[in-house]
Every structure is written in C-alpha cells, then in structure tokens.
C-alpha cells in the first residue's frame, strides 16, 4: 500500500486545571492513496484532536506528519488547504450562517483562483451536480436547507480545490439514518470518480464497516489496534475493539469503571480479561501483515 499521509509519533498534550490531558500520546497512523481509512473510538479519545493537528489547527508537541513523504507538520495553512480538507459533523455550524450557499462556495473557490462571481458559476454548478444538488440551492441560506443538503454543500466545498485527502469528522452523526446512507453512498461514488482518500472518523462501527478499507482503533490518545476492515471486523484482537463492536450490536461487554489509567495498558480498568501483564505498556503485536494490535493478551484465544 502506497502511503498518502503518514503520522509519526504525534504528541498533543493539553493542560487543563494543572492536569495534563494526553489527547494524542505518540499516535502513528498511515493513510493509503485512494482508500478510506477509518479512525474509531469513543468521544473524547482524541480523534478530532488528531484531525485538527493534521490540519495544523493545533501545534503538536512532538512527532510529525508526512504527506507523500514531505514533512508537513509546520507547513503553512495554504499549502495544506490544497491537499487536505475536512468535513465536519454538524453542517449547520460548519458553514457561516450569514453566507448563502453560493457565497460559501465562491469564497472557497477564490482562495486559490481569481475568478469573478459570474465566471465561477458554471464551475460551481458542476460542483453541485457532483454532489447531487441542483443550482436552486445557490441563493439559499444554511438554515433554509435540510441537514443532508447542507452536508452535500460542505462536501462540495471540501472538493473545490481538488484535495488528495478529505477528513470526514463524523460526517453523518447529525443526520438521520436514510440521509446518512445517501451521504455515505455519495462519498463512495466521489472516491471512485476522483480517487480522493478519506480519513473517516466515526464511533459507529456499522458505518465504518460499510465505508472503510482500513480501520484504526483509538483509545484515549493511543492507537490500540489497526487492520484491514475485513480482518478487524472478523477477528478483533483488542478487548476495546470488541467492546466497540459489541456496542454496535447493542451488547455491553465491559467492566464499568470510570478510572483512566495513565500508564501501562490504558484500557485495563475496563477490561474483562486483564491480568498482571497489563501494568506494563503493551507493544505492537503482528497478527497478520495488515493487522496489528497492542495488547498483552492478543495471543490468547478469546471466547
């Protein structure tokens, strides 16, 4: 697999009331060309922080991000904008409520291109057609559109400068189930047409299974397991992955605990199969060439 984006040992700590929150604790991640890579985990585990750090909104304490081999950790925003775009969770807050759809898209277009509002129109009409919207929506304001329509506008906006990677930060969790499916189908079609790669951030494993080619599981600032979609869903090795999978099918299989370990295996307080080894930091175990896990008990057979 050829790498489009590579995240290496990224560290991002926030200090919050004299308490250090390790939002990203030496996170490494790889995103291949033209595929969908999913990043899953509970809310607050650092998924969005990772996205924002990749986009340069946060400055990482340590580690680096490579785009096609080029270190982009300290790159300027305008360079990143040509290559990486993001689609947010709630479309209603991710476009300026004072801008019409046309103004929103036109503004995005003019970042790298000098065109008059009239000249831009055919291009923007095409763009809307790509996301199955008619030019009728051009002169509407965000609040006059449905969530699905507006999310299409956001997707159109993210496509405008032909990026290589689009980060989808829970793009459908504010939408209802039928709209979700339509948006995801649209995204898949766009990937096929344009060859764009996705980093699909989600906590919904059903959607992840539908969307992605690779899955990375994150637990409180650490990647605990990653693998191809097929392997990970058929043979989940980390207990946390299994908890997430079970939860997707309405089964609760964890020890209730509010404790968050700061060393060793972070998950051990909630783990049903923990033992003494879990006090130590687990290392990567290779399950197959496309499946790695960070658990002392990965060799054990699970029931």
């Amino acid at each position: 697999m050829s790498k489009l984006l590579e995240v290496k040992n990224l560290k991002k700590y926030f200090s919050h009331h004299h308490c250090l929150v390790k939002a990203l604790d030496e996170v490494s991640l790889e995103i291949p060309h033209g595929k969908t890579t999913a990043l899953v985990g509970e809310s607050g585990c650092g998924k969005t922080t990772l996205a924002k750090t990749i986009l340069g909104f946060y400055r990482a304490q340590d580690g680096s991000v490579f785009l096609e081999g080029k270190n982009i950790t300290a790159c300027r925003r305008r360079f990143l904008a040509r290559n990486i775009q993001i689609v947010f969770q709630n479309p209603y807050v991710s476009v300026d409520p004072r801008y019409t759809v046309y103004a929103t898209l036109y503004e995005a277009l003019t970042v790298f291109k000098k065109v008059s509002s009239q000249e831009a129109k055919p291009e923007l009409v095409n763009l809307l057609a790509q996301v199955d919207l008619s030019p009728e929506v051009f002169h509407r304001y965000p609040h006059q559109l449905s969530g699905g329509q507006l999310q299409r506008v956001c997707i159109a906006r993210s496509l405008i400068n032909r990026p290589k990677l689009i980060i989808l930060d829970e793009p459908t969790s504010a939408l209802d189930i039928t709209t979700t499916l339509k948006i995801l189908t649209l995204l898949k079609r766009l990937q096929k047409e344009l060859g764009v790669s996705y980093l699909f951030i989600s906590h919904n494993l059903k959607l992840v299974r539908f969307m992605s080619d690779y899955v990375w599981v994150m637990y409180y600032g650490k990647i605990v397991e990653w693998g191809s979609q097929k392997e990970l869903f058929e043979n989940p090795r980390h207990p946390y992955t299994r908890v997430l999978l079970d939860a997707a099918y309405q089964r609760l299989t964890e020890t209730a605990s509010e404790t968050l370990e700061t060393d060793g295996c972070r998950f051990r307080a909630r783990c049903t199969s923990r033992d003494k080894r879990c006090q130590a930091e687990p290392d990567w175990q290779e399950i197959s060439s496309e499946h790695f896990v960070r658990c002392h008990r990965s060799g054990d057979t699970y029931v």
Partner: protein, 352 residues
Amino acid sequence: MMKEFRKNRLAVLCLLVLLSLYGLALFADFFSPYAYDEEDVEHLWSPPAKIHLIDREHNIFLKPFIYKDSFTIDEYYRRIYREDRTQAVPIRFFVRGFSYKLLGLFKSDIHLFGVADSSKIFILGADSKGRDLFTRILYGARISLSIGLIGVLISYGIGLLLGGIAGYYGGRVDMILMRLVEMIMLVPGFYLMLALRSSFPPNLSSTQVYVLLIVILSFIGWASIARVIRGMALSLRENEFVYAAKSLGLRDLQIIVRHIIPHTFSYAIVTIVLSIPGYILGEAALSMIGLGIQEPQASWGNLLSSAMGIVNIKLFPWILTPGLFIIAASMCFYVLGETLRDIIDPKRKISL
C-alpha cells in the same frame, strides 16, 4: 424587527426627535434666520422673543408677530429690554436673507422665517455679542451631532478590528492588545481627554480642532469596544465554520473580517447607538472649558461655556438651552439603544 420597534412608542418618538435634530443641523442655513457669526451690538443679551397672535386691542392675527424691542440701561449698567407695544413686526416665512449653499450644492438665500430688516427676531434669545442663539444651536448641532457619529464609527472600526484580532489570535497578541486597552481604560476618560488635547498646540484652525476632537474621542472610545469584541471573537473562533475557513486556506485577516466581525454586528449596533451620547458629551465637555471648538464657530459645548458663571445663568437663563439640546439628543440615543438591545436579544437573534 421593524414591527417590534414600531410598537415602542417612546423609541419611535426618540427616533423622530433625532431625525429632526439631524435635519435641522443639515439644513441649518435654511432654518436659521441669521448667520452664525452675525453680531449685533443693539441686541446684546436680548431675551427670547415673545411671539404673539393677539395684539393690544385684542385683535387676533392669523400670522404671528413680535413687538419691536428697545432697551434702557438700569443703575447697574444692565440692559433692560422692553417690548414696544406700538410697533408690531410680523414674522414672515421664506424670506430672503444671507445667501448660502444648501448642502454645499444649491445656492440660495431663502430662510424659513425672519422679520423686516428694521428689527430682529431671537426666538431663543441672543448671547453676549448679540448673536442669535437659535441660529448658533443649529450650527452647533452640525458639529456636536456629527462628532458623535463620525467618532463612534472610527472608534468602532478600530475596536472591531483590534478586538477581532486579539480574540482570534489569542495568546501573546491578545495579551499585548488587552494590556493596551486596560491602560487606556484605567485613565479616567476626562483627564485622558485633557491630556491628549493639551499635547497638541492650542491655536489650531477650527477644522483642525474638529478633526483633533474626533481623533481624541475615538482614541478613548475604541478600548472598551475592543475588549467586548475580543470576548466574542474568542468564542466565535471555536466555531466550526472558522475552522472550515482555516482549512480552506483563507488568510487570518480574511477570516476575522468575513467570519468573525460580522457576527458581532448585532451587538455592535446596539452599543454604537448607546455610546454616541458619550461622544456628544465628550465634545461638549472639551468645548465648554475652551479646549474644543473655538469661537466664533458654534458647538453645543462652547455655547454652554457662556453659562459657566452663576451670574450669567441668573440674568440670562436662556443661555442654558444648548444644554437642553444635549440632554435631548443624548437621551434619545439612550432610549433608542436600549430599545434596540431589547429587540436584538442575543439569545433569540445570534445563533453562534
């Protein structure tokens, strides 16, 4: 929103008062019977003219008239004006007087009202040099009311931009800008005004003084607005549409001007209206103590400077009328601002 505004009778009244004040100021040449610097030794401290409709013989006239007045000098060498009941002078409307350019465009010499050249009419009285107070109030309104508007626009321009920058960047930029703001806010406004004024030469032309006053008032005014806008920008920058703009590659200044500052407008409109009186009063204070607009130019403030002595107020109480105009204009702006604030309820209107 217009509907809610119209429901508030007081606010509508205030708006009408303000509009008519600005109208009077704009067309001061037309409404005033005399030139603002026309002096008349025959009418020093002439009291407000009594306008009559009924004469001595109880005849009712359709047209108002005044009596020609003359003065005698009493034992303290004061002038005692007395109406000469035998000489009625009718008030004429749309009379020809001194020529002027309406709005600087149309040459004209028509004035709303006036009397025959043999006499003079001072509907609000005359000052120590026999100048018509009504005329001078109208010309003074030009300066006092425009300083309020221009001053507020300039200081809001600065305040919005610097507040937006401080809030958007945060960190060190925010630190430096906010300490600067605090320094300006810490010095009592009036003394800061005096200090700034005294750092410029005292003998400037009237236009220079006018510009200088605007600059001084704006310099003091931008600080408080910058602080509030900074607070709003701090929360606005966490909006996802700001992150979206960043990820699209927009420059910081573009984001601040296009996506942060416009969201503070509904707040800014209210405070702009509420802070105009501060500028009117600031100008009045400086002019009154002689540091602002200089004679013979009129402003509401320097008109009041003749009312500084208690003797003058006792003998010629009409010289306080510019103060009534200041109060009226300020109160109208306050009522208008408060009403706007009620209508533009942040919880209802702004969807941050």
